[in-house]
């Protein structure tokens, strides 16, 4: 649902932005110089009520560290956040410091509403993990537009009960697509087709992992119709034909592999480092039977960050606040509440992340932390919801065998290029 709104909002802003943007671009960018005091507003995304105490603690710390400051904290509900931010931007009520994932920031950067923090804060590049900061750099645009905040990645999760019951060894988990397909075959034969191992259709991220460049380096056109991509889709097509994936995986109503995993019809899913914790709430009897392993190929990088409104009246305090919230100490404290990972260079040596407490959730944390070192943003931010849908449709045609992989990829690239130019 959230994705749907995000796509819709992109469309809305292109219409609404015509009359409303622009003005900010001519004004000089606010600078970091000046005393840190006065009022400053901070907007987070769906952290209340679970992390109310944590965020309030961080804010109190800030007000204590910089006497004379006053932080106004707003927390927005999860649903419809992208729309909320866009209307705030259009109405000129964007808070000074805003929690924005990199893709939500794109329309605001096009309208010149966000502050280039790389220019305002020279120490940025030295203190934050390069991969995370790069998520806030956009092709064709100068500078960086957010302080990276907490990070996450995907880890494989396996249902050991289903694996053992169907002749697979949880000690020898597949580590590549070929191994996965081989084990999926065993599982299918033993279970008589009732249980599946694979339940994910290929996405752009899988192509990146297979060494396929999604876009040209300047971000001007799509390039993912390569022979490697064809080979990957062919593998999925053969697996689908053999019945190694649920039939409805190709439909648009498909609920996702995490849901099937929760129901116990699928033995493998991917999820963030915090997945077992939320599974323990949803399905308490399943959670202890789950073991994590490292994601196949390059793990994806998910970034949250704090951007700063260019229209802020209190740039010094806004920059100081964004820096304070994303500081190594405050992020480390956050990571102790939930399995997320700090974006600061200084946190890399924190033993908390490299030692498991022995629980499967603790193991997942360590695996996720180690994966982060090589994690990358697998899908370029220019890929909009509309493009994703097109790609999904074309890949479905290829996997179901209605079109050849070559045809599907060529069609997807051509249509995505059209959307990119429009």
């Amino acid at each position: 649902m959230r994705r749907y709104w995000a796509g819709l909002a992109l469309l809305v802003v292109t219409i609404a932005g015509c009359g409303l943007g622009g003005a900010a671009e001519e004004e000089p960018a606010p600078s970091a110089g000046g005393a840190v005091k006065g009022k400053v507003s901070l907007q987070t995304w769906a952290l209340k009520p679970k992390f109310t105490d944590y965020v309030q603690g961080v804010i109190d710390g800030f007000e204590k560290r910089y006497p004379g400051t006053e932080v106004e904290w707003l927390d927005q509900p999860a649903e419809g956040y992208s729309d909320k931010v866009l209307t705030q931007a259009a109405g000129g009520t964007l808070p000074d410091v805003v929690n924005l994932p990199p893709d939500f920031a794109v329309p605001l950067i096009r309208q010149g509403i966000l502050l280039d923090v790389a220019q305002a804060d020279q120490k940025l590049a030295a203190e934050y993990v390069p991969g995370a900061l790069d998520a806030y750099r956009y092709p064709g645009v100068q500078g960086a537009y957010g302080y990276p905040w907490y990070l996450n990645t995907d880890v494989n999760y396996w249902n050991t009960e289903l694996l053992k019951k169907n002749g697979l060894d949880p000690e020898k988990l597949p580590a590549s697509l070929d191994e996965l397909i081989a084990q999926a075959r065993t599982l299918k034969e033993k279970s008589g087709g009732k249980v599946f191992l694979m339940s994910r259709r290929p996405e752009l991220g899988d192509l990146t992992n297979a060494g396929v460049p999604i876009m040209s380096p300047d971000g001007a056109r799509f390039t993912f119709n390569t022979p490697e991509a064809v080979a990957l889709l062919d593998k999925y097509r053969d697996a689908f034909k053999e019945g190694l994936l649920p039939r409805d995986v190709l439909t648009d109503t498909y609920a996702g592999n995490a849901k099937l995993f929760n129901e116990g019809t699928v033995a493998w899913t991917t999820g963030g480092g915090n997945y077992i914790t939320s599974l323990a709430t949803d399905n308490p009897t399943l959670a202890p039977k789950v073991v994590p392993s490292k994601a196949m190929g390059t793990p994806p990088l998910y970034v949250q960050g704090l951007s700063i409104s260019k229209a802020t009246k209190n740039a010094p305090a806004a920059l100081a606040l964004a820096r304070w919230v994303t500081s190594a100490e405050n992020q480390a404290a956050f990571a102790r509440l939930v399995n997320i990972f700090p974006s600061t260079v200084a946190s890399a040596n924190d033993p908390f992340f490299s030692k498991s407490d022995g629980s499967n959730s603790g193991d997942a944390k360590v695996i996720a932390f180690e994966s982060l070192a090589e994690a990358k943003v697998l899908e370029p931010v220019q890929v909009t919801e509309a493009m994703k849908k097109l790609v999904r449709q074309q890949f479905s045609l290829a996997v179901s065998g209605e079109a050849t992989s070559r045809e599907a990829l060529d069609a997807a690239v051509a249509k995505c290029d059209e959307l990119l130019k429009s």
Partner: protein, 258 residues
């Protein structure tokens, strides 16, 4: 048909009663909770100020219902029974606004409401929905169904437009009026995106927006969400139960009484 519409609702109900030790998503869902508990409802009330959110929702719904009941009746009556210059043009404009999807106008609507000084107020939430164009058309159709002879008789007896509305029109459109009331109430009560955009201060949140706090980052518990959904569903049941007498009578009975 009934099974398809009712079963998601029943699933929510059973989820909201399940204890923390039970699985929610299974291949063979059991509708009957093994250890039924009301603690989820208590926890919802503890986590978020459900009652003050419900009051906010009620205020918005009351404004919208009143606006639609009065405004749509008056406008519908004028369009159906009064003759004045430009009535066709006006009707055309009403129809034209129906074609625009709400998502396209939402940002300009927000800018308008903000410049009226109504951002972050419940009135600002209620105002755009206070007269639904569709409701005006429904009322117009209902008024048109009254035979012109009755109106003409009233005019000969010397009735003014107001008297014709009160004594001839209203008694004959009660059914449609209750339909409009129920739809206006449900529309106002269920709306999510617009209140989210207008409201900033969490104290002013309506129930649909406030319930989103149960679905936070890293902290979604489907039992609590289901319990919240049940709480927000209750008033709709009540409004419908109260009005259903008129709702069905109005549909069945012809427009004219002796």
């Amino acid at each position: 048909m009934l099974v398809i519409t009712v079963s998601p609702f029943l699933w929510q109900l059973s989820t909201s009663l399940k204890s923390l030790q039970e699985d929610i998503y299974t291949g063979t869902p059991s509708f009957w909770p093994e250890r039924p508990t009301l603690s989820n409802y208590a926890e919802v009330a503890e986590t978020i100020p459900v009652w003050s959110y419900a009051v906010n929702s009620l205020i918005v719904a009351a404004i919208v219902v009143a606006g639609n009941a009065a405004g749509a009746t008056l406008a519908g009556f004028a369009l159906a029974k009064l003759r004045f210059r430009g009535v066709k043009l006006l009707l055309g404009l009403f129809l034209a606004t129906l074609v625009l999807p709400a998502e396209v106008t939402i940002i300009s609507q927000y800018v308008t409401v903000r410049s009226l000084g109504l951002a972050d107020t419940l009135l600002g939430v209620a105002l755009p929905g206070a007269i639904g164009m569709l409701n005006v058309l429904l009322m117009r159709t209902a008024f048109q169904a009254i035979p012109p002879e009755m109106d003409e008789a009233a005019i000969i007896d010397g009735a003014t437009a107001w008297q014709r509305l009160r004594h001839v029109g209203l008694p004959n459109v009660r059914g449609m009026l209750s339909v409009v009331t129920i739809f206006a109430f449900i529309g106002a009560w269920d709306d999510f995106l617009w209140p989210l955009i207008v409201l900033t201060d969490p104290d002013n949140y309506t129930l649909t927006v406030g319930l989103q706090y149960l679905n936070g980052t890293f902290s979604a518990n489907p039992r609590l969400i289901a319990a919240g959904t049940m709480i927000s569903f209750l008033p709709i049941v009540i409004v419908f139960a109260v009005l259903q007498r008129f709702f069905f009578k109005g549909v069945e009975e012809g427009a004219i009484k002796g």
